[in-house]
Symmetry: C2
Subunit: 132 residues, 2 copies
């Protein structure tokens, strides 16, 4: 049983060929792809793969907490299989999205002290070193 299969089962997701392929893609290519990008790449190997299945699968992954949804763009949602605490930097020139590490613990907001905090998203936009 492959790593991905095991990981899905551990997270109470029934493995299917499509689900395993999509998760493998997200783990292998950490480019924070959109639904369209994932579909375009995988449809080469799985010609019958539909966008609906990509949508369904990603929705399931997000619900089960094994994938994060990234809203750094105005128009489309991106996905990230790295669920550890980290931020996202988007270069407005090359449009690449970089991960950077930060500690949620570093962000202490007194005003929210008594609120229940479930998710923290830190998005920074600017120009990356390569494009400078």
């Amino acid at each position: 049983m492959g790593n991905v299969t095991k990981f899905l089962v551990e997270n109470k997701i029934k493995p299917s060929y499509q689900r395993m392929s999509i998760l493998e893609y997200l783990i292998k290519y950490k480019t924070h792809p959109t639904v369209d990008e994932i579909h375009q790449k995988l449809v080469v190997e799985i010609p019958t793969l539909s966008k609906t299945t990509v949508y369904n699968t990603l929705k399931l992954f997000v619900e089960k907490g094994i994938v994060l949804l990234i809203n750094i763009e105005d128009n489309e949602t991106r996905y990230d299989a790295d669920t550890s605490a980290h931020g996202h930097f988007k270069c407005v020139k090359c449009n690449k999205i970089y991960d950077f590490s930060f500690n949620n613990a570093d962000i202490v907001v007194d005003e929210l002290k008594q609120y229940i905090i479930q998710q923290t998203h830190l998005y920074i936009k600017g120009i990356c070193l390569i494009c400078l």
Copy 2:
């Protein structure tokens, strides 16, 4: 010349009745409204107001830097006339969006030290005090 008119002129935006109304609305009601919400409220006073104009105007305001675009929701864009450094907290129960203050200076990311940083968005989701 009203405050809003002056403010628009200072930011090189030609004042029009529609533009002034939309800006006034954003300044008065700090609810981070969507295009639809703004349109629905203002069309009562300005029956000819079109959504296209709301879209055009907000796009212009964002370009000129007098309004911030908020992407805390998956499906629609929200707008904020408060351009000072602050974060947004979304209560997943009542769906209200709260502002909270934080210092951009508090978020120092070594990995991005040499990058040019243009915008920082901090979105926190959870449950607010009222809904607890």
